[in-house]
């Protein structure tokens, strides 16, 4: 399949990339890993007239942990996160990184690209919204840091101005008595998830839920934060009953569309099941247990 013709430009710095975006106009786009953009271009769902390759901008591929924050350069590949010790210390981050599509896509796709693309079925936004995350953006005349929940405005739409780039994705490391899980169900490894759910729960001294965050992916134009599910847990012990209430709230909050991945009803059922599973694993991890979680598909 052939993409619409475009001119190719390589940026050596963030400044150069921003300048090229200004010069080349509204139909120019950045390309990082290209694992979302290239398929869209081949299907002619995107037809930029110019591509600005940012893969060769130095020091955008670094993972740093300091001051209770984990900072991912925009060009950090999913594979790097999967195998990073610092990142794996936050289980929900590892769950997400280790199961995105397949090895080949994880070797090439980037966290910055995934967040900037704002695909409603993307994995990163859903999992990182369960934590306090933000996006550090670069523009020639200054920088700004935008909380992730404000960064994504709509399906495939972020707050980025035309000449603005994602520089870093910043994730606040959760406290010790907190645990999270990202569970995504997909039909096979390489495809987007049918439904995904992220849960992060923080326990108090007596083991009750002090704080909870529940996020759904793939069942709306953007990831959905389910506050009713969170309040079903907050201030209470995490039990079958409260988990069930949270799962029911999530089922209600989901806005799934019927498509080739499944009917809307099927997806609602999946939402409830995955939320249950995610909360259960998150709570066990908050208690210090080692539990495996992540993407599930036939043959895994």
């Amino acid at each position: 399949m052939y993409a619409h013709p475009f001119s190719y430009h390589r940026a050596a710095s963030l400044e150069e990339a921003a300048n090229l975006l200004q010069q080349l106009g509204e139909d120019a786009r950045l390309i990082a890993g290209g694992q979302s953009l290239i398929p869209l271009m081949k299907m002619r769902l995107a037809r930029p007239t110019a591509l600005i390759d940012i893969n060769f901008i130095p020091s955008l591929d670094i993972i740093q942990r300091n001051n209770g924050e984990l900072r991912f350069g925009a060009l950090v590949r999913h594979t790097e996160i999967e195998h990073s010790e610092a990142a794996s210390a936050i289980p929900i981050v590892h769950d997400c990184a280790a199961g995105i599509a397949d090895v080949q896509v994880r070797n090439q796709g980037t966290i910055g690209g995934s967040i900037a693309e704002a695909d409603p079925s993307g994995d990163w936004a859903t999992s990182l919204l369960a934590l306090d995350s933000s996006v550090r953006c670069f523009r020639p005349n200054g920088e700004r840091t935008v909380p992730l929940n404000e960064f994504i405005k709509d399906a495939y739409t972020s707050v980025l101005e035309h000449d603005e780039l994602v520089r870093e994705v910043v994730v606040k490391v959760p406290p010790k008595n907190s645990g999270g899980a990202y569970v995504a169900f997909k039909r096979s490894a390489p495809v987007y998830a049918t439904v995904s759910a992220a849960a992060q729960v923080t326990l108090d001294d007596r083991g009750s839920c002090k704080d909870a965050r529940i996020i759904l992916g793939c069942v709306g134009l953007m990831a959905i934060r389910v506050r009713d599910a969170e309040s079903a847990l907050q201030g209470k012990p995490i039990s079958d009953k409260t988990i069930q209430q949270a799962a029911e709230a999530a089922r209600e909050a989901a806005e799934p569309q019927s498509d080739m991945r499944g009917s809307a009803d099927y997806k609602r059922t999946l939402v409830a099941a995955l939320v249950k599973r995610a909360i259960g694993i998150a709570a066990r991890r908050a208690r210090g247990e080692q539990v495996e979680a992540g993407h599930e598909y036939v043959g895994r």
Binding site: M1, Y2, A3, H4, P5, F6, S7, Y8, R10, I31, G34, Q35, I38, P39, M41, K42, L51, D53, N55, T79, A101, D102, V103, Q104, V105, N107, Q108, S188, A189, P190, V191, Y297, G299, R300
Partner: protein
């Protein structure tokens, strides 16, 4: 093909410096097949699914249908043609042949490179690691059992070296 401006792309392929003038929208797999005549890399689904087009980019597997050729300019690519040395099959190739790890062979180039990438990082993979490593490679003939056998055999063979 349109009359879009062509650009020169230089890539080290299987250790050799290669170049061609191509439209920027040329996919890496087309660059390899149509411009360098390296037809061992197959186009299966052309939608980032099946993994038949898997090659190594600077030592890591990628799907060459999902990279524009200019993005690989100045970098190193290994294709299935680069595996055999001096007429001797690579242990991974030998194992696939001996264990009947292929039937029609269409997915094989991609599977060979995914297997090699796995074994370079993880010389003694568990079955679970093998499953995860080849989850992005679809084979419609074999049912994967013999592919597993081939990868285990190749691991043992490479260990001896």
């Amino acid at each position: 093909m349109s009359d879009a401006e062509k650009i020169r792309v230089r890539i080290r392929v299987n250790g050799e410096a290669r170049e061609a003038e191509v439209e920027p929208r040329t996919l890496l797999v087309e660059f390899l097949r149509d411009h360098l005549n390296l037809t061992g890399t197959h186009i299966g689904c052309d939608t980032t699914y099946c993994g038949a087009c898997t090659v190594l980019l600077d030592g890591r597997t990628i799907k060459s249908c999902t990279l524009f050729a200019p993005m690989a300019d100045g970098r190193e690519i290994t294709t299935v043609e680069g595996l055999a040395k001096n007429g001797n099959l690579h242990p991974v190739q030998k194992a696939f042949a001996e264990c009947h790890g292929l039937q029609c062979g269409y997915c094989t180039p991609g599977l060979l490179l995914s297997s090699l990438h796995l074994l370079n990082k993880t010389p003694k993979p568990t079955d679970k690691q093998i499953r995860k490593a080849i989850a992005g490679n679809t084979c419609r003939c074999t049912g994967y059992q013999n592919i597993f056998k081939a990868i285990r055999t190749a691991a043992a063979e490479m260990e001896k070296r």
